[in-house]
Symmetry: C2
Subunit: 389 residues, 2 copies
Amino acid sequence: MKTLNTAIIGYHTTKFGELWERSLFHLAQEAIEEAIKNAGLEKEQIDAVFFGNMMAGIIENNVHATAKIAELLEMNLPVFRTEAACASGGMAFELAATYLKANPGKTALVVGAEKMTDVSVQDVTQALSAAASGEEQNVGLTFPGLYGILAQQYLQTYNYTEEHLAHVSVKNHYHGTFNEKAQFRREITVEQVMKSTYVASPLKMLDCSPITDGAAAVVLTSNEAYIKNKPAAYVHAVVSATDTISLKHRKRLTGLDATRIAAAKAFEQAGIGPDSIRIAELHDCFSIAELLAMEDIGFWNEGEAGARIAEGATRLDKKGPLVVNTSGGLKASGHPVGATGIKQLGEVYLQVTGQAGKRQVENATFGLAQNVGGSGGTAVVTILGTDHA
Amino acid sequence: MKTLNTAIIGYHTTKFGELWERSLFHLAQEAIEEAIKNAGLEKEQIDAVFFGNMMAGIIENNVHATAKIAELLEMNLPVFRTEAACASGGMAFELAATYLKANPGKTALVVGAEKMTDVSVQDVTQALSAAASGEEQNVGLTFPGLYGILAQQYLQTYNYTEEHLAHVSVKNHYHGTFNEKAQFRREITVEQVMKSTYVASPLKMLDCSPITDGAAAVVLTSNEAYIKNKPAAYVHAVVSATDTISLKHRKRLTGLDATRIAAAKAFEQAGIGPDSIRIAELHDCFSIAELLAMEDIGFWNEGEAGARIAEGATRLDKKGPLVVNTSGGLKASGHPVGATGIKQLGEVYLQVTGQAGKRQVENATFGLAQNVGGSGGTAVVTILGTDHA
């Protein structure tokens, strides 16, 4: 199967940032309404909604979003909420694509949203740590700590330095300057990253994605009449895989097997290889994560990422074969966790349909998104493309 | 379409009750392992897992169960967590059936689990209230209060008394005596219900389902080779619908429109009517809920339920055309919220395949399960049957 005959035909993301005046469902509502409008549809043409959110239960004692979304839409349609920590958005999209494969001709709205800045940094850090195992939480490991362990392992194994990590953030901040929805829109330098405070060695503040509010939605359809004459990004593959929740049970710490397995299956489904991808949105929750993803997906060989990122290989202005995180990634665009997976897919949709404006990558026929939950316990890899045959 | 060619071929539920010595994932693990064994399969024959849970995030800062389940199974397979308040189990099952429709020949494990007794009654009441709207929570409405409003409306509209409600609990406690996994296994009388303390008028303690720990799992497959020569309950329909999360936005309060819509579509899909159903597991979180469900599904006419329940129409010993909640329902069997929807389906599976022992209903060719989230913001209706043509 080269394609699922299912395409994204509309997208909207709210501004990402510290949006103190807006609630979770205000944000979700904007994303939902504007994505439907962007697709040129009416809400009555939506058959089902898939909603990705991680932490509203913990932060604001708010679950049962299925009914809240029905209330917003004033419709009685099926609504499904998924949660896979920071991969909640990607997983919602995977289930929506599955729904459309089972129900040809139908249309789904996929929305992700997260409201993180209404509580203290301590409380949101605690809520994020809910994605780690109980044992990891009990010894005080937070996510910078978990990714710090992965970063140490990578740097030591391949003899890289912290400067190599810094190039990820520098590139993504540069890309963020082109994205008006991004949380941070200013360039930073390797020196600034190196001088920023340690959060969990070797990761410093500017290696870490921020705490963010935001929502994003895409309209996904297998209705040929809706796709016709519209910019459309076909789903060539969407595959998830899992791994142990605890780092201590992993087979290796220099990469994420969930990404590796999901990517290999996705390329097999799509019938293409990493070489065909021109644009990728990768889950750079921490700088190290983008380097691991480049190798796990097969864009670069094992141990190669540190050297290649320092060359600026995946920067927009390099005009190389692959540009990574044109949205600014999680680092500059922001990381409202439930929304991130959908924003990634929206960015790939904009790129493959030629709507990415100042950050447009030329000849972006195929694009890839990789969304990760926790320290790699879940990964979803999606391949989108303009052709559908 | 008369059938999805997908069948339940294995089931296990843990004991339901106050299981202080067991954790959420201990319970889930027992359900998973024993359901796979009951289906006569090995874990490697499972292609995907669907997990329903409502409140582990709130109660124990525990999300990302996708990875935890992968760790338990020592596999990297896709795992999906769904949440729709107390309909989380039913929704997991619906998505699993959709997955199998999209991927013929595959096999899914659907597991629901909830651990509710490790925190105070106040804390679990608060966590349950997360399924209500923010506005309802802010005015102090808890779930007995919300269903108390529905009960008042029903009793007043049709001139019934609190004794009519009491018959629901009396019947379900009677059925619970036949279910060795039930939380409560003793009969109660109308007098005992009437003398029990008011929780939220007109609902008294013995109108309310208890706080429960438990897990349940079914193996669902579209692989004909796995189904052959095994007791199998085919999925004839599984449909969800939504309604407003807040009671104040509902069109009526004498029933749940989400159930009504989902049931009508389910009967249409299955090509049968309510008359064909011999056994139903309905979501009696409070006594009133079973009466509303009987009318919303179309088993009884509007306003008829109070009179019919008092006649004992749906008791096992009545040997009438329809028996309801042979498991004991949520009231006697217990209500570990994420597990409830799966236990309901498991009970219907046992009944239609003739494995229900002392509580077996004769000629139970078709059975129905109705799983509700919140005060009716979500409903999932499933029809199972022995034939598949």
